[in-house]
Symmetry: C2
Subunit: 305 residues, 2 copies
């Protein structure tokens, strides 16, 4: 049986070649660097442009990571989809490859579908995958998905599937909601905050860690706070994380993460996004570089080859 | 070169077998009935639960319709997707099969992406499909997609791709917006309203017809108004259409359409939806039947076998 997950996870950004196909070579390299920084790999998240990829592209990338000897127990691929058939296919594949868990969006096309419909969706996925090793981390991100995973839905799913429903990523941006999730009292239910801005408070509330965009570029410092949240300088560490997070939030986040990764890895192709996302303009890139230089920002040893 | 489309189109509901796989046999039969009522087939729309289907399921259904000798020029399949690769694959397939056009949602996961990103998406699709016969009808449905296709985006796309961008379906629910679309002054740009409630006004404004949920159940009367919108009793006809539309809008629309189709075709499996949608409750089904009986509603000759 897989252990439930805890720690700091990167929703790993996805590199694209000039023809906009996903570049598995660069992805493997970035994942290896992230693992060297002691973070787990929440590939195929919002920051991964995962919904801009087909299921077959995601299967291919996952296969390439496993072929590169990346330990599957450190992988938490996003496998949610609007289509039941797509969610089942990718979740099956991840589970067969022994991924530590999957991060699952609700189906997000229809709005106002209600708890019965969402329960039906997750329930069908679990039953169709039919694998005792499946561990689902629900993905609550109402600002983007525009479909919520309510507290009562979580309780209902955990009652029926206490082994399969292992936790949640809360990207509501609302600390009070993360607090409520930690207070649900469900046995070993793992609550990850969706931004390191809430990491200290989440750990104090009994949370399991964070899965956050900026883990792609600032993993070591975030891991340090995760490990030392009970230390005397934890609040100071939190403030330092917030400074970097705030800087990135002045820009379109995903494009900014890719620009910075391109800069520090000396791989210009990292700055490419797939439509509908757009890369930073030259002016935005300059501003970002200057702001990072002002705070002596680094991504150490990013060039691993 | 394909003619641009005009008329009344059904966003064809999709039947599911007990295992929730799409039932191509029942779909073919319903499409044949709709064609007998003189409406076109906008398969894979919102009312088709198209985003609840995988690309391979949609390819299979489209192939089955063609194999059943349904004329491809009367087909306007929905081929939009969050993923560029999925949109390209399905649009290629539809174009190779000589469909009259495709109805294309914007990528709808990321919100607030801006015109440049959406332009980039549609532009990449058109260039990758690379077929002079491609005819795209844009699908504007902000209440559900939560991503808009703005007037300025339409103008920009039509300037670059005057042959490929053939029109739009406006499901904004806002007559003033449909009016603005008709007033854009783009050569032969076909404006379909997303509800027959706007059909008379759309025809008066120079529009091309409608693509509407309730065409699935009330096609003949809607076609009658389309053909006779300049007749003396057009307003009376519009009022009669509105009565039926309003009745259906008291219920969850897609489930109500399926319930009624199940009832009149004597095929109970039609009432099945795929999660996250849910079927009408028994009580809702009874209420719907009673309300329909009160207005002597019929779906003539629905049982074609």
């Amino acid at each position: 049986m897989p252990q439930r997950l805890a720690g700091v996870f990167a929703p790993v950004i996805t590199p694209f070649s000039a023809d906009l196909s996903p570049d598995s070579h660069l992805l493997v390299r970035h994942c290896q660097w992230l693992l060297s920084q002691e973070v787990g790999l929440a590939i195929f998240g919002t920051n991964s442009e995962a919904n801009s990829l087909s299921v077959s592209e995601k299967r291919m990338l996952l296969d390439k990571l496993i072929e590169a000897d990346i330990c599957p127990s450190l992988l938490m691929p996003g496998t949610g989809s609007c289509a039941l058939s797509d969610a089942v296919e990718l979740t099956c594949h991840a589970t067969e490859l022994n991924c530590g868990g999957v991060l699952m969006l609700p189906p997000f096309y229809y709005k106002d579908v209600g708890n019965d419909g969402l329960y039906g969706f997750f329930s069908e996925v679990i039953q169709r995958v039919g694998d005792a090793n499946l561990r689902i981390y629900l993905y609550h991100i109402p600002p983007i998905a525009q479909v919520e995973i309510s507290l009562s839905l979580i309780e209902r799913l955990c009652t029926t599937y206490p082994d399969q429903i292992a936790g949640i990523k809360d990207s509501s941006g609302d600390w009070n909601h993360t607090r409520q999730l930690n207070a649900l009292g469900i046995n070993d239910f793992r609550v990850f905050c969706g931004s390191e801005s809430f990491l200290l408070r989440n750990m104090q509330a009994g949370g399991a860690g964070c899965i956050s965009a900026t883990v792609n570029v600032n993993p070591a410092a975030i891991v340090r706070l995760f490990k030392n949240w009970q230390s005397a300088d934890a609040k100071l560490q939190q403030n330092q994380l917030d400074t970097i997070r705030d800087l990135f939030q002045h820009f379109p986040m995903i494009s900014a993460l890719k620009t910075v990764t391109a800069l520090y890895s000396d791989e210009p192709s990292w700055s490419r996004t797939r439509p509908p996302l757009v890369s930073l303009t030259s002016s935005q890139q300059q501003d970002l570089s200057q702001e990072l230089a002002l705070i002596n920002f680094q991504m150490p040893n990013l060039q691993t080859e």
